[in-house]
């Protein structure tokens, strides 16, 4: 079974948790075994959101995941990027995993910051980027994510 890793950033952006559940649902539908790596607080949000583990079956602390990850541990990397630190984490995982297939979901309220995050990702990765000015409302991201994930399914 193909394996996907979803990276969550700081959970202060409200759109992240519902998008994480939604992305897990979509990737599971494409046949991936999905693991979500996050901070303890982001993990608590997922646990309350999905108490029966209907969508999210596998969760792991982001630091231990990074320390134990190696080349070819996963087939697909999906990262939520809405802070500078999340760019750094995504790029680091991208290189540690030597990942061939990846997607960064970049969102921010501020257009300049959004552009900066995209530039930083483009500078050091060849990842697919899905971006939108968003913070509370996940819909702009979900619409673009759906288009991108549809293309992934066709590959």
């Amino acid at each position: 079974m193909k394996k996907a890793l979803i990276l969550l950033g700081c959970p202060e952006a409200p759109a992240q948790t519902p998008m994480a559940v939604y992305a897990t649902y979509k990737l599971t539908g494409l046949g991936y075994e999905v693991t979500v790596a996050s901070t303890p607080s982001a993990m608590k949000l997922l646990e309350v959101t999905d108490p029966l583990k209907y969508y999210i079956k596998n969760k792991i602390d982001i630091e231990s995941c990074l320390n134990n990850a190696g080349e070819n541990s996963y087939d697909f990397l999906l990262g939520f990027v809405h802070k500078d630190a999340a760019v750094s984490y995504f790029v680091t995982f991208y290189h540690v995993l030597s990942i061939k297939s990846s997607m960064a979901v970049v969102f921010e309220r501020d257009a300049e910051l959004l552009e900066k995050f995209i530039e930083d990702l483009n500078e050091s990765t060849e990842t697919t980027i899905v971006s939108a000015r968003a913070y509370h409302n996940p819909t702009p991201l979900r619409v673009k994510f759906d288009r991108a994930i549809e293309q992934l399914g066709e590959q």
Binding site: S41, I62, A85, V87, Y89, T92, H95, D120
Partner: protein, 105 residues
Amino acid sequence: MSFCLDTYLQESENYEILISKAGFKESKKFIEEHSSKVMYVNAGEKILGVRIIGIPPIPIGINEDKDTVTLSYTKPCYGTAVIELPVKKEEINNIKSLAINPYKK
């Protein structure tokens, strides 16, 4: 037991936070401007027992007179800090062995 940066920062006060809650590129520039020697490593290399996080090439400042290293330290909710801490010669040698370039400056 081998050195672990996370444990060290929790249990020791013998380190200096030079900047905090910064972006990675700001931290990189700070290390480059404030270190007598700078080495660069790839993202995810194990430095002081943990994988270093950032956009490669990632700078590490080395002060061989004081036996200290200056490096970026990133956490998801707190951004990037630059810390300087004393290390053993063997840790400096380990960083040298992982360096993409031997020296800059």
